[in-house]
C-alpha cells in the first residue's frame, strides 16, 4: 500500500490552499459561535452568522478549486500523467485522494459545525441527527465537482467545461420555463408537479443527493480503476438525466414529521361547511410586466367555515378547480389560484382559539377583528368584460388544515431566561418598558434537522414568508394570572421597517435557524395598564397551533355574482368599511 506518500505529496502541493480553506472554515465557525455566545448586540448577533455564511460560501469556492487540483495532480485522463508509468496502484491512488477529501472537505466542516451546535447548547441527540445530514450534504456538494475533475486533465479544462455545464443547464431551465409559460402550461405543470410541502421537497433532495453520491462515487471509482473515460462520461450523462427525471416525478415523503402525520377523518368535522362572504366580493387587475401582456383579474372574498368543532381552527391551505356555471352552456374555469394564502391573527376564529387555550382569562387584543380576503377566482380581462354582473354557481374544492391552540410553555419576565423545547431554544433577549406598555425581544434558535422526525421541517429560505402567511403558528402572549388578563402583541407594522433586520429569521445554514422577534404589548383603554406593577406578576406564554387534522370541503355558492366594478389596486377594494 502506497497511500501515505500520496497523501503527503498532495498535502505539500496544496498546503497554501488548504491552509486558506481551513482558516475560512474556522473563521466561519468562530463567527457563528461568536454571534451566539459573545455578542451583546442583537443586530451583531444576527449579522455575524450572515458573515459566517458568506465565509462558508467562500470556503466552498476554495474547495471547488482544490478538488480538481488534487485530482488532476495525478490526472486520470490524457496520456501524459506521471503516475501512469510508475508503480502506483490505481486503488492506492483512489484511497489517497478520497482520504484527503474526506478529511478536509467532509470531516473538517462537520467537526466545525458540530462544535458550533455544541456551543449553542444543541443537545447531543440532535448532534447525532445532524452528523449524517452534514455528511450527506457535504459529499453531495463535492461529488459533481469530483466527477468533472476526474474527467478533465487541467484546471482550465475543468473550469471551462464546468462553466459550460452550468450555463447549459441554466439555458435549458430557462427554455423549459419559457416553454411552459408561453405554452400556457404553467398552472397544469404547477398543479401536477410543483412540490408545496417542504418535507417532500427535502425528501426529494435527500434521495437525489444519495443517488448522486452513490452514482457519482461509482463513476469516480470506475474512472480510477479503469480509466475508460468515454464510458464514464456516457454513464455520467445518463445518470444526470435519470436524476432530473427522478426529481421531477418524486412524490414520496420519507422525512415526514410525526407532527404532520394527522388524521383526515377528524371527529366532529363532518358537518363543516365553507362558504364565501357574498357581501365582500371584490375584483381587481393582476400585475402585468407590460401592457402588451393580456390582462387578468382576480376575484377575492373572505371565507367562512361553519360547524368547526369547538377549540379547533380551520385554515385554508389550497383552493382547487374553481369554476362558475353561468348557464347550461356557459361555464368559466379559473386560470389559476394563488397557492399561498396569508392569514392574519385578527380573524375572529383565532381569537376564539386563544380563549379556548387560555381558559378563564380575559383576552385583550390591540387590534380590531377583521376577515381575511382570499383569492377565489382568476379571470381573463376579456371574459370579465363579457360576463361582469352575471350570476351563477361558484364551485371549488377547499383544503383545510385543522389546528388546535395549546399552551406550550411559560417564561418568567426576566432578561436572559430561556426555555429549551426539543430542538428549539427560546431566550428573552431584552425587555424594554415603553410609555404604553412593554416590548420584549426574543431570540429563537432551532436545530432544523433532516432526520429529526419529531419536529416540523422549516424552510430557512421562506421562513420569513411562512411566518407572514401563517402568523398563528407560534404565538407569544403576556399573561398576568392574578388579574386574569392576557395581552396579545401588536400586529407587525408593515410600514415600520426600522426593526426589520432583526425580525427576519437568519440561518447559520439550513440546520441551525436563529430568529429574533420583537413583541410589542400595548395597554388598551378597556384593560389594566401594563406598568411595572402589572409586569411584576406577569409571564410570557407561548401558545402553539398544533395541527390535528386535514379537511376537504366543497364550496358551492349558488347566488354568486361576478363583480361589476373592478379596481387596479387590490388593497383598495378589499378594505372593509
Amino acid at each position: 500500500m502506497l497511500v501515505l506518500p500520496h497523501i503527503k505529496k498532495d498535502l505539500f502541493k496544496l498546503k497554501w490552499l488548504l491552509l486558506g480553506y481551513t482558516f475560512l472554515v474556522i473563521v466561519a465557525a468562530a463567527m457563528n459561535i461568536g454571534s451566539l455566545r459573545m455578542s451583546e448586540n442583537l443586530v451583531l448577533r444576527l449579522q455575524l452568522p450572515m458573515l459566517g455564511y458568506m465565509i462558508s460560501f467562500l470556503a466552498g469556492l476554495v474547495s471547488i478549486v482544490m478538488i480538481p487540483l488534487l485530482i488532476q495532480e495525478d490526472a486520470l485522463v490524457g496520456t501524459t500523467a506521471f503516475w501512469f508509468t510508475r508503480p502506483i496502484a490505481r486503488r492506492d491512488l483512489l484511497i489517497a485522494k478520497m482520504t484527503f477529501l474526506v478529511l478536509f472537505i467532509v470531516l473538517l466542516p462537520l467537526v466545525a459545525e458540530l462544535l458550533v451546535m455544541t456551543i449553542n447548547h444543541i443537545p447531543a441527540h440532535y448532534l447525532w441527527l445532524a452528523a449524517p445530514e452534514i455528511i450527506i450534504k457535504n459529499i453531495g456538494a463535492i461529488v459533481p465537482v469530483l466527477i468533472l475533475a476526474a474527467l478533465t486533465v487541467r484546471f482550465s479544462h475543468f473550469a471551462m467545461i464546468g462553466i459550460g455545464i452550468v450555463a447549459g443547464v441554466g439555458v435549458l431551465s430557462i427554455l423549459f420555463t419559457l416553454l411552459i409559460s408561453f405554452g400556457g402550461l404553467t398552472s397544469i405543470v404547477y398543479n401536477a408537479w410543483a412540490v408545496r410541502d417542504y418535507s417532500l421537497q427535502l425528501s426529494k433532495e435527500l434521495v437525489s443527493s444519495l443517488l448522486m453520491i452513490t452514482g457519482g462515487l461509482t463513476l469516480v471509482v470506475h474512472q480510477y480503476l479503469t480509466r475508460k473515460t468515454a464510458r464514464t462520461i456516457s454513464w455520467a450523462v445518463a445518470g444526470f438525466i435519470v436524476l432530473q427525471v427522478m426529481q421531477f416525478f418524486w412524490r414520496i415523503d420519507l422525512l415526514e414529521s410525526t407532527t404532520t402525520k394527522i388524521s383526515t377523518a377528524l371527529p366532529g368535522t363532518q358537518t363543516m361547511k365553507s362558504s364565501l362572504d357574498m357581501d365582500h366580493i371584490a375584483i381587481s387587475d393582476n400585475y402585468r410586466l407590460s401592457n402588451k401582456d393580456p390582462l387578468t383579474k382576480t376575484i377575492r372574498s373572505p371565507l367562512t367555515e361553519a360547524g368547526t368543532p369547538s377549540g379547533m381552527v380551520a385554515v385554508l391551505t389550497e383552493l382547487t378547480a374553481p369554476y362558475i356555471i353561468l348557464s347550461d352552456s356557459e361555464t368559466l374555469i379559473s386560470l389559476s389560484v394563488s397557492p399561498n394564502y396569508s392569514h392574519t391573527l385578527a380573524e375572529e376564529k383565532f381569537m376564539t382559539a386563544f380563549s379556548k387555550a387560555l381558559p378563564g382569562m380575559n383576552l385583550i387584543a390591540p387590534f380590531e377583528s377583521a376577515p381575511s380576503f382570499k383569492d377565489i377566482f382568476t379571470i381573463k380581462g376579456t371574459e370579465w368584460d363579457k360576463y361582469k354582473g352575471r350570476q351563477g354557481t361558484y364551485l371549488a374544492n377547499a383544503k383545510y388544515d385543522i389546528y388546535e391552540f395549546k399552551k406550550s410553555f411559560s417564561l418568567p419576565l426576566t432578561r436572559g431566561t430561556s426555555e429549551a423545547r426539543g430542538a428549539e431554544l427560546i431566550e428573552i433577549f431584552d425587555i424594554v418598558e415603553t410609555p404604553n406598555g412593554v416590548s420584549i425581544i426574543l431570540t429563537e434558535k432551532k436545530a432544523n434537522l433532516l432526520f429529526d422526525r419529531d419536529t416540523k421541517k422549516e424552510n430557512p429560505a421562506t421562513s420569513a414568508l411562512d411566518q407572514y402567511n401563517q402568523p398563528f403558528m407560534k404565538n407569544y402572549v403576556l399573561i398576568n394570572p392574578q388579574l386574569e388578563e392576557v395581552y396579545l402583541p401588536a400586529l407587525p407594522d408593515e410600514n415600520n421597517i426600522a426593526f426589520e433586520p432583526i425580525q427576519r429569521s437568519l440561518s447559520l445554514n439550513s440546520r441551525t435557524i436563529i430568529a429574533a422577534k420583537r413583541l410589542d404589548f400595548n395597554s388598551t383603554q378597556n384593560s389594566s395598564k401594563i406598568d411595572k406593577a402589572w409586569l411584576s406578576g406577569a409571564s410570557l406564554v407561548r401558545v402553539d397551533a398544533v395541527l390535528i387534522g386535514k379537511k376537504k370541503l366543497l364550496i358551492r355558492q349558488e347566488d354568486f355574482k361576478i363583480p361589476e366594478k373592478s379596481t387596479v389596486n387590490l388593497e383598495a377594494d378589499t378594505k372593509l368599511d
Binding site: L2, E73, T80, A81, F84
Partner: protein, 302 residues
C-alpha cells in the same frame, strides 16, 4: 525471458486515422533497441500502447512477459520510463521528486542515485519547474535508473536538448549499460545520437513497421556501391529490387544495395554491367540507411 517486449499485430486507430497498423516487433532481452521513424510515424503511440497508457484497437503487446493491459505496479517497478511528453510534478524540488519516487521502489539504490546525481550535476534544491529542459530530463532519468529497472524505455529523450546535454545524457546511459544487462528501448528521430547506443534497430513509417534487426547486420547488409560504366540508358538492364536509390549520371553509377553479400553482390553487378569498372563498396551510417529506406517507403506509398 527471451524478449523484453513482444508486440503482435498491434493496431491503434484514432477515429479514421491509423497511427499504428499490424505492428509485429520483438525486442530481445539485454538489447539496446533504437526505434526510429520520422515525426508522426507512430513511435510514441506504440510505446504508450505498450505501457498501457493507451488501449490498442486490436492486437497485443507483452512487456516483461505480461500482457501490457495487465501491467501492475509489480511490473512497473522493473520498468524505467523517460519521455519528452511527461507531466512532471514541477512544483517539487529535485530532492523532493526523488524522495517521492523512492517510496515506490523497494529496490531503490541510494548510492547509485547519489552517483547519478553527481554525474549529472543536478541541483537538489531547485524546483523542477526552474530547471532547463535538459536538466529535467536528467532528473527523470535519475528517477528511472536509481532502482535498476530491467527495462528502460526512452521516448524521444534527446528532443530539444542542446548538444552538450545530449552528450552527457548518452554518456550516462552508456556507462550504465556498460555495467548491467539492461534492455533499453529508445525511440528517436535523431539517428546520429542513437547510432552510438543501439545494437538493434527498428524503423517505423506511417504506422507500418519496415525493418527490425541487429545494427551490425544492418550495416553489413546495406552498402553503397559506386562504379563507372559506358552503358547507355537504352541498354540499361532491369535493376534488382534490393538495389535502392539507383542513379546513373554520365558514366557514374551509384546505388544502395540493401542485401549486400560478399562476393555474390559483386558478381551480380558484373553480370548486369559487364563493362563496370572501379567498383567501390562503402559502409553506410545508420542515418544514411534510414534516409534511403524513408525515400523508398515514400516512393512505395506514392
Amino acid at each position: 525471458m527471451e524478449n523484453a517486449i513482444e508486440i503482435r499485430n498491434l493496431t491503434k486507430r484514432f477515429g479514421k486515422n491509423t497511427a499504428v497498423a499490424n505492428l509485429d516487433l520483438s525486442i530481445p532481452t539485454g538489447s539496446i533497441f533504437a526505434f526510429l521513424g520520422p515525426n508522426g510515424a507512430g513511435k510514441t503511440t506504440t510505446i504508450k500502447t505498450v505501457m498501457n497508457i493507451m488501449t490498442p484497437t486490436s492486437g497485443s503487446a507483452k512487456i516483461l512477459d505480461v500482457d501490457s493491459q495487465k501491467l501492475s505496479p509489480k511490473e512497473l517497478m522493473q520498468i524505467g520510463y523517460v519521455s519528452e511528453n511527461h507531466d512532471l510534478p514541477l512544483w517539487m524540488t529535485v530532492k523532493q521528486f526523488l524522495a517521492y519516487c523512492k517510496t515506490m521502489y523497494p529496490q531503490w539504490d541510494d548510492q547509485f542515485c547519489q552517483r547519478l546525481l553527481k554525474q549529472f550535476d543536478l541541483p537538489l534544491n531547485k524546483k523542477l519547474r526552474d530547471l532547463s529542459r535538459g536538466m529535467k530530463m536528467k532528473a527523470v532519468l535519475v528517477s528511472s535508473l536509481a532502482y535498476h529497472p530491467k527495462l528502460l524505455i526512452l521516448d524521444e529523450p534527446f528532443s530539444g536538448l542542446d548538444p552538450l546535454v545530449r552528450q552527457e545524457f548518452i554518456d550516462g546511459i552508456l556507462e550504465i549499460t556498460g555495467n548491467r544487462e539492461w534492455t533499453i528501448f529508445i525511440s528517436s528521430h535523431d539517428i546520429d545520437e542513437v547510432e552510438r547506443l543501439a545494437d538493434w534497430v527498428g524503423i517505423i513509417d506511417k504506422g507500418h513497421f519496415k525493418v527490425a534487426e541487429k545494427a551490425e547486420s544492418l550495416h553489413q547488409r546495406f552498402k553503397k556501391i559506386e562504379f563507372t560504366s559506358d552503358i547507355t540508358p537504352a541498354a540499361m538492364p532491369t535493376i534488382p529490387a534490393e538495389w535502392l536509390s539507383f542513379q546513373h549520371k554520365g558514366r557514374a553509377v551509384c546505388f544502395i544495395d540493401s542485401a549486400y553479400e560478399e562476393p555474390a553482390s559483386k558478381k551480380k553487378i558484373c553480370e548486369l554491367f559487364p563493362e563496370a569498372s572501379n567498383i567501390t563498396v562503402s559502409t553506410l551510417s545508420l542515418k544514411e540507411i534510414f534516409l534511403t529506406l524513408s525515400k523508398q517507403f515514400k516512393m512505395m506509398n506514392l
